[in-house]
């Protein structure tokens, strides 16, 4: 039994030659994507060409224009992830669970970039890749915690169990952020007496401020774009799992029916 509608690909090419291949894009994401690209170009222009070196930090301030936006995006995504994890645990909603995963994965990516850019900035400013700065250390621990979240979620199993387990890990990580931050911050302050190093928090004003704000807005646009696509991809993956399960059940059922007929016929 062949049906034109069974293969979506066939439908797409057969029904109308102008229909685009199915993907996770939509009008919304295309607009967001365009804004992100233009914004990125603007930020690069501002960061490298238009804005001038800092009085204290020199050229290295240009790393700040990529480091602070990634930090901001990362923390924002983690907070949103925590919210969706809470909703997931409370309502057992697949939408919330999928949103939690998308924000969690993109947020972890941003955290990784935060650590890398922070280390590189530290290399320039203090000639050391890592100085156990409170913010970087907290980010490192957070990064590991969210790797745990992603690992628990990727273990799979029945969707209900998976969403309960991973949302618990996500909520726990979020609850621990302030605790971790306070303790590392206090620890850092105990070390302050031993060094005369400044912190990775220069005073920004005027043009630097504009560039930084622009970069942060662009980072948020990029994050939103990534989250939307990752959400849709994750949704598709889950749908395939469901469809695959249904298909397998169907196949087993028809096998059983076929065997029963054969047995009946052979008798």
């Amino acid at each position: 039994m062949t049906d034109m509608a069974t293969t979506p690909g066939a439908t797409a090419t057969h029904a109308s030659g102008a229909m685009p291949a199915p993907s996770t894009s939509s009008k919304g994401t295309r607009i967001l994507g365009a804004i992100s690209l233009i914004g990125t170009a603007l930020v690069l222009l501002f960061a490298f060409v238009i804005s001038k070196p800092d009085a204290q930090l020199g050229e290295s301030i240009r790393i700040m224009y990529v480091h602070v936006p990634t930090v901001t995006a990362a923390y924002l995504l983690m907070i949103i992830n925590a919210g969706f994890c809470a909703v997931t645990l409370w309502k057992r909603s697949r939408f919330a669970d999928t949103m939690a995963f998308a924000t969690g994965q993109v947020g972890t990516l941003m955290l990784a970039l935060t650590l890398i850019t922070g280390a590189l900035w530290g290399r320039v400013t203090w000639n050391a890749f890592w100085v156990w700065d409170a913010r970087l250390t907290t980010a490192a621990l957070l990064f590991l915690m969210y790797l745990g979240y992603l690992a628990v979620r990727s273990l799979g199993g029945p969707p209900e169990a998976r969403m309960v387990r991973s949302s618990i890990v996500g909520i726990a990580a979020a609850c621990l952020i302030p605790v971790v931050h306070k303790s590392v911050e206090w620890w850092d302050s105990l070390h302050q007496g031993q060094t005369v190093l400044g912190k990775l928090k220069p005073e920004v004003s005027g043009q630097q401020y504009t560039t930084l704000m622009l970069a942060m807005v662009v980072a948020l646009c990029i994050s939103a774009w990534l989250v939307l696509h990752r959400f849709r991809l994750s949704w598709l993956e889950d749908q395939l799992d469901d469809v695959g399960l249904d298909a397998a059940l169907e196949a087993r059922r028809s096998e059983a029916a076929g065997v029963a007929i054969n047995v009946g016929g052979a008798k």
């Binding site: 199915p22 996770t24 020199g58 050229e59 696509h229």
Partner: protein, 50 residues
């Protein structure tokens, strides 16, 4: 106190930006590509949340 000012600083700045751009573009590419592939496999009415 800056440890070094000069040509040494620039490659680190470029590196920071380059890693960021490459990572984000790479991640986006992977997600989009898999999205296209899976979209073709899933029946049209099940593709989106709404």
């Amino acid at each position: 106190m800056l440890a070094t000012i000069g040509p040494d600083t620039w490659w680190i700045i470029i590196l920071a930006w380059a890693i960021t751009v490459v990572a984000i573009v790479g991640y986006a590419a992977i997600v989009i590509r898999r999205g296209k592939r899976l979209s073709a496999q899933v029946p049209p009415d099940a593709r989106r949340w709404m």
